[in-house]
């Protein structure tokens, strides 16, 4: 055997060992599902039950901002098999090919999805091809009941966007603390709706009017932030917040648990409110699509969907779960609004590049007061 051949065999042997090392973790990966989700957004008991039934271990990583997820997706590689994404991001992402279509045949429990929610979600994901709704809710008003009564009188009603967009009235709350979301796509539709305009309008004149209205209330707003209001409400530091239903109900729960005497309520104004949808998607680079589909199927079993909904206290996208829910969740109009209120909830289409730049500019001017 010549020197070269010997070297060659050594190289091949080394490669074989290398491949063996690579192959071993790949086999383990089949039994692993990597989920990227909000924190505490799946009942841990459901995760345990999933592992028991399928033998698949779930690696559950969390994010605290949708923007973090988007940046990972846009940078090209996520490393996850299943991600929870908010619907308003979908129209930007789907044309870029960031997700794989969901093979519904492999997840028969998706038949339990709520048709009404599916129809509304289809506005963001035409044909419901990529996104499987998990939870949904609204963006509206959370408030400290005692403090509102103290400032606005015992008969004050928080049932209209007037509470936010009437500068004279909001002024009375300014030294008590008002937070609003730092999110264009949440605040402009609400302002447009209050003005009696189409909340989905992308017309420059309409957006300018909404910007004008928001500028008027700005002096009375203490903070523009998309998560700080949860703690501020729960601690009793502020009177009013425009925020996500789930977050406000979470603040209510925290205040109750802390027994600090703070009572928080959530109200969907009579003019209507924007709906949000948190849905599962499978990213293009998912390593374990089979496991992702199994998981989507599993959490859409009516009893599992109900368990998750009871745990996080959000409305499930699964209609079959509704009868199985605890009364506290099912009968809470902030979570499951009446049919009448449902009729007044709206969705919006994404901004195109031009209108996006316009609203961003308007919003910056609102926030800086210039």
């Amino acid at each position: 055997m010549g020197k070269t051949t010997k070297r060659l065999t050594e190289a091949i042997a080394a490669c074989a060992i290398g491949l063996g090392l690579l192959a071993a973790p790949a086999a383990a990966q089949d039994k692993q599902l990597r989920i990227f989700n909000w924190s505490d957004y799946v009942d841990p008991e459901v995760l345990d039950a999933f592992k028991k039934e399928t033998g698949i271990t779930v690696v559950y990583d969390t994010f605290d901002q949708m923007e973090t997820v988007e940046t990972k997706l846009l940078a090209g590689k996520t490393g996850y098999d299943l991600i929870v994404v908010t619907a308003s991001f979908l129209p930007r992402h789907i044309p870029l090919g960031l997700y794989q279509p969901v093979d519904r045949e492999k997840a028969p429990n998706l038949k339990n999805l709520w048709p009404e929610i599916q129809t509304r979600l289809a506005k963001y994901d035409p044909g419901n091809k990529y996104a499987v709704n998990y939870m949904w809710g609204t963006t509206a008003v959370g408030y400290n009941t005692a403090k509102i009564k103290e400032r606005l009188g015992p008969d004050a009603a928080v049932d209209s966007w007037k509470i936010v967009f009437e500068p004279e009235q909001l002024k009375k709350l300014s030294n008590c603390g008002v937070h609003v979301l730092d999110a264009v796509e949440e605040m402009f539709p609400a302002a447009l709706r209050y003005l009696g305009l189409d909340p989905d309008s992308k017309k420059e004149a309409d957006l300018n009017k909404a910007g004008e209205l928001l500028r008027k209330i700005r002096p009375h707003i203490q903070k523009f932030h998309s998560s700080e209001y949860i703690n501020a409400l729960a601690n009793g530091d502020i009177c009013l917040a425009v925020g996500y239903s789930g977050d406000i109900l979470q603040a209510k729960k925290r205040a109750e648990e802390a027994k600090n005497g703070v009572e928080i309520a959530y109200s969907i104004p009579k003019e209507g409110a924007l709906m949000w949808f948190d849905s599962f998607v499978i990213p293009k680079d998912a390593a374990n699509v089979e496991a992702a589909l199994k998981f989507m199927d599993f959490v859409n079993k009516p009893e599992m969907a109900a368990k998750n909904s009871d745990f996080i206290q959000y409305a499930s996208g699964n209609i079959a779960a509704k009868p199985l829910l605890s009364a506290a969740v099912r009968d809470n109009p902030g979570i499951y609004p009446s049919d009448e209120v449902m009729g007044r909830l709206y969705t919006i289409t994404p901004y195109d590049q031009k209108s996006q730049r316009l609203v961003n500019r308007l919003w910056t001017r609102v926030k800086t007061g210039k």
Partner: protein, 300 residues
């Protein structure tokens, strides 16, 4: 001959390491950011255009790059106002940190040596808790009816809640608190090494302690003051977390502007341009300072 040559080669190698480090972890990332700053935001993957299509299309690629982002930074008052505001807050933070840090470091350097170690540990101790948690704790202190209001009520200064949270004062408090150790440590290192014999000599020659301080201690501790101020000022300009948590709509620092351009508006190129200008704003004065110092040394 060969021994000398190899020693020289070794010396050159040792000098090359920091340069290599600089090239790898500063220049290369900066080149990526700079290239992005000349692109435009696009609905693409990654979200900007043009993309680098390989060396053959270099002409086309270069022709698509433009200065639009930088001219926007000049046109829209939001950006330069945020830069100025950030510089102002950073300068105030540095002044306050120096005013508090100098006496602190001086006291630490003056106590018997066996106490210094313990005092040093006290300065470093806060780092054992997460920075985020320490800033968050300030929310608990400053919030209406929070710890500060309660403490004031306890000593009989009851009144309307102070409402400091979400104001510039809150941001400054948080900044001075967070950056103070970076001022104290270099000052302590300089003051500790100070030859006390010089002060005795000054006293022997009839200087009052005050005169001795201003003619001996202060000039000799100047390197510590400069190092501490740079360590506080430079990161303070780009600070994002503290103004985000403790500030309100009026405290728009450039770090926050950069964040919202990058994350909320998905305008990576504009965010890159903001970062490039920030770097120039910070590095240029340092370079000029260094030049002036070199020239002075040459002249001397």
């Amino acid at each position: 001959m060969s021994a000398v040559a190899s020693l020289q080669r070794l010396r050159r190698l040792v000098v090359a390491v920091p340069y290599l480090w600089l090239a790898l972890f500063f220049l290369a990332p900066f080149a990526i950011v700079l290239r992005m700053a000349f692109s435009q935001a696009a609905t693409a993957l990654p979200p900007y255009a043009p993309h680098w299509e390989g060396i053959a299309q270099i002409g086309e690629f270069l022709s698509q790059l433009d200065l639009a982002n930088f001219s926007l930074l000049g046109d829209d008052p939001l950006y330069w106002q945020s830069y100025l505001y950030s510089l102002r807050i950073a300068a105030l933070t540095t002044v306050f940190a120096l005013a508090i840090g100098y006496p602190l470091a001086y006291a630490m350097a003056s106590v018997p040596a066996r106490w210094r170690g313990i005092l040093l540990v006290f300065v470093i101790l806060p780092f054992w808790t997460s920075f985020l948690i320490r800033v968050y704790a300030w929310i608990g202190i400053l919030r209406p009816d929070g710890l500060l209001d309660q403490a004031l009520a306890l000593i009989g200064l009851e009144g309307e809640p102070l409402r400091l949270l979400n104001t510039e004062t809150a941001v400054l408090l948080g900044m001075v608190y967070s950056y103070l150790p970076f001022m104290v440590l270099p000052l302590f290192a300089t003051l500790e090494k100070l030859d006390r014999g010089l002060l005795e000599a000054a006293a022997d020659l009839g200087a009052t302690p005050v005169t001795a301080f201003f003619t001996v201690t202060l000039p000799l501790s100047l390197p510590g003051i400069l190092a501490g101020s740079a360590l506080v000022f430079i990161p303070a300009v780009g600070e994002f977390v503290i103004p985000d948590l403790l500030g309100g709509p009026d405290t728009v620092m450039i770090g926050k502007v950069l964040w919202s351009e990058f994350f909320s508006n998905r305008d990576w190129p504009l965010a890159s341009a903001v970062a490039v200008v920030l770097l120039v704003v910070l590095v240029l004065p340092l370079v000029l300072l260094q030049r002036a110092r070199l020239r002075r040394e040459m002249a001397a």
